[in-house]
């Protein structure tokens, strides 16, 4: 197809226009027009005419976008001809330009999308490299947005996102770029030296305002909605000179803001990189630890206070990594829970503990810890049933320990699972009692077989009268509810005497037996039952790290 073409004489007057040019410009009478008036004659703006006339006078080429009256954009190229005069060619780029803008826009909120943010960030970094002006990238993530979507549906969630977007736009300056990166993730590019804003002060002021403004109650469709926002900030050039680094570092800072309670902001610090790498490397090792058989169980004796007899053991998870050595459960259990690995690891621990206990010469009980995460999959009862069938352990000897954390979310669902487990004949203990929130209501909702009193109260008994009162209250509560009570973390004879005086039924701690390998636990059960009151075991002094239970 022929290009739209207009020829000018050396003075800039139109001498020829082909049919295509006339159609494109929407003007039939082009010949005879001075170049200066051509854009205006086609509904365009005056300044473009002046720019073209200036180029003609200077005898040079020029390329510009001509905005026509009907909102079309025409790319216009002026070229001097060797024979004298000029050629003007036109190309309609309306669709191209609009398409490019749309490709950088996020349809729900009208904010720019990830591609758009990258474009702006690249441009801003190039500008900053020239001027030396600092810029900031803020990464935002809404807190509790998912529950809005889940409970009220996507139309309400979408309306909320539009309101959040509006607040972000209102809270920022015109030259800032606000982007929605997907879901409930947003980003803001704070660039340019406009207003003389200094960094990091400007970014901090904005982050603080965003936490306040976005966190205020929304009213959508008759519902009061409350979400918060966490913000991570990275600055250029201090935290990175290229777009990918800046975005990555702002993300790391956001991760930290969320880890430290949400509804807050954090600036990137170089240490976050190292910490994240350490976490990633631990995750890689953890993901293969089960397959490489790096886990083992330690067994800590539980002593009946009345008889001094070992009545059971708690199985404690240990991870021995060939290079790392023993890894603290306080380090790897939360990570395993976060990435869901705890389900497989927990099942392994349950099977290994039951198999071991099934081989003991006495019918001592075996306690195994359950993570709240294990309740979510809907397969826990089935798993326990299979393990009992495979190992042949009497269900009455298995004690599953849960913490209040398991009951915090979806209480009814968890209670249904507990009742299912109880129906198998296994016992259920409440672990770490006294450290959570609403313990008493949970005791009422489910008839636990045993309450384990958190070691912090036991340790505090000697110096702190309140701790003694709490231990006494829990022991009596247990007695009147028909639940046994185990005092955890007993380390000294004085603590043991105090525990005994308060009426606990069982005791578990370094004083009466440290966690030990399976073979040693089995051997302990082969000894004749001690009928004398519990005496301190002759064991080396305690190492605090060993008291961590898993």
């Amino acid at each position: 197809m022929a290009a739209a073409l207009v020829l000018l004489d050396a003075g800039g007057t139109v001498t020829f226009a082909n049919a295509r040019a006339a159609a494109l410009l929407g003007c039939a009478e082009l010949v005879g027009l001075p170049i200066r008036s051509l854009p205006a004659a086609c509904g365009g703006a005056e300044p473009e005419g002046a720019a073209l006339a200036e180029a003609v006078r200077a005898g040079r080429s020029l390329r510009l976008h001509l905005a026509l009256g009907d909102e079309r954009l025409v790319e216009t190229a002026l070229t001097p001809l060797s024979t004298g005069g000029f050629a003007l060619t036109f190309e309609d780029v309306t669709e191209h330009i609009r398409g490019a803008a749309l490709a950088r826009q996020e349809p729900l909120t009208g904010l720019c999308n990830r591609v758009g943010l990258h474009d702006h960030l690249h441009a801003a970094l190039a500008e900053a490299a020239r001027t030396g002006a600092p810029l900031a990238v803020l990464m935002l993530d809404l807190d509790r947005f998912k529950s809005v979507n889940d409970t009220l549906g996507h139309p309400v969630g979408d309306a909320l996102l539009r309101k959040v977007a509006e607040r972000l736009r209102r809270a920022t300056r015109r030259e800032d770029v606000v982007a929605r990166l997907g879901g409930d993730e947003f980003a803001i590019l704070q660039a340019g030296a406009h207003g003389g804003a200094a960094q990091p002060e400007a970014a901090e002021a904005l982050a603080r305002r965003l936490v306040d403004l976005v966190g205020r109650t929304y009213v959508v469709d008759g519902h009061m909605l409350n979400v918060g926002v966490s913000v991570g900030v990275a600055l250029s050039p201090a935290d990175g000179a290229d777009a990918d680094d800046l975005l990555k570092h702002a993300d790391l800072a956001l991760y930290r803001a969320k880890a430290e309670g949400r509804g807050t902001y954090r600036f990137f610090e170089p240490a976050m990189n190292a910490q994240m790498q350490a976490r990633r490397s631990l995750e890689i090792d953890l993901r293969r630890a089960l397959a490489l058989k790096q886990f083992e169980l330690a067994f800590q004796p539980q002593i009946q206070l009345e008889t001094g007899a070992v009545v059971g053991f708690e199985a404690l998870l240990r991870w021995n990594h060939p290079e790392r050595g023993p890894v603290s459960p306080a380090l790897f259990i939360p990570l395993a829970e976060e990435i869901g690995l705890i389900v497989g690891i927990g099942e392994w621990a349950l099977r290994a503990a039951c198999r071991e206990a099934a081989g003991w010469t006495q019918a001592a009980s075996i306690a195994v810890n359950l993570s709240p995460v294990q309740f979510r999959g809907g397969r826990l009862v089935e798993t326990v049933m299979n393990v009992l069938a495979q190992t042949g352990l009497d269900p009455a000897r298995l004690e599953l320990e849960i913490t209040e954390g398991a009951l915090l979310e979806n209480t009814d669902g968890v209670l249904a699972v507990l009742n299912g487990l109880r129906a198998l004949g296994v016992r259920i203990s409440m672990d770490d009692f006294g450290t959570g929130y609403s313990s008493l209501s949970y005791l009422q909702k489910f008839p636990f077989d045993k309450i384990k009193i958190d070691q912090s109260f036991v340790r505090g008994m000697e110096d702190n009268a309140e701790c003694g009162a709490i231990v006494r209250a829990i022991a009596r509560l247990g007695a009147s509810l028909g639940m046994r009570t185990t005092a955890e973390g007993v380390e000294t004879p004085d603590q043991l005497a105090a525990i005994r005086a308060e009426g606990c039924t069982e005791v578990q701690g370094y004083l009466t037996g440290r966690p030990m390998p399976a073979a040693q636990a089995a051997a302990l059960l082969c000894r004749p039952v001690a009928q004398t009151p519990v005496r301190p075991a002759t064991l080396p002094p305690a190492r605090p790290a060993d008291t961590l239970t898993a």
Partner: protein, 148 residues
């Protein structure tokens, strides 16, 4: 119109700083803008203000009340906004004016002090409806005083 009528009551912390006259000017500015905006979309109500807080009732079509409240939420001249009530109502308590400013006079300041005392100086303890009723009484008195 009355089919989709709702009432929203909130209170918030006043962040307007400065001398009493400057503060008064700012508050009157807020009021003037609100009167115009709210009359256009059929929202009525009462705004109560003192140096410590704003308390406001908004009544009107649900969508207009939501839009108005969203604009208020974006205003950084106040903060710590507590939404006390959001409910459908049969009829308006505040019908004849777009917004009523209460709290300019010494008499109102004294009255406001009583209310704070009644609730143990803790506005958040008041239920939305109680606040609404108190606001209404004050607004009516203000109107009566203006008419006299």
């Amino acid at each position: 119109m009355s089919r989709d009528l709702c009432r929203l009551v909130y209170y918030s912390r006043n962040r307007v700083a400065g001398a009493p006259t400057a503060m008064d000017e700012t508050i009157r500015g807020i009021l003037a803008v609100s009167r115009v905006n709210n009359a256009r979309v059929g929202v009525t109500g009462a705004l109560m203000f003192n140096a410590g807080c704003f308390a406001q009732v908004l009544e009107g079509p649900s969508e207009a009340v939501e839009t108005t409240f969203e604009r208020i939420q974006q205003d950084e001249r106040h903060g710590e906004v507590s939404l006390l009530a959001l409910e459908p109502v049969e009829e308006r308590l505040f019908t004849d004016w777009s917004m009523a400013y209460v709290g300019a006079s010494q008499a109102d300041a004294a009255r406001y002090g009583d209310m704070a005392g009644e609730s143990g100086f803790d506005l958040s303890r008041m239920t939305g409806d109680k606040l609404c009723a108190v606001l209404h009484g004050l607004a009516l008195e203000e109107e009566a005083a203006a008419a006299a």
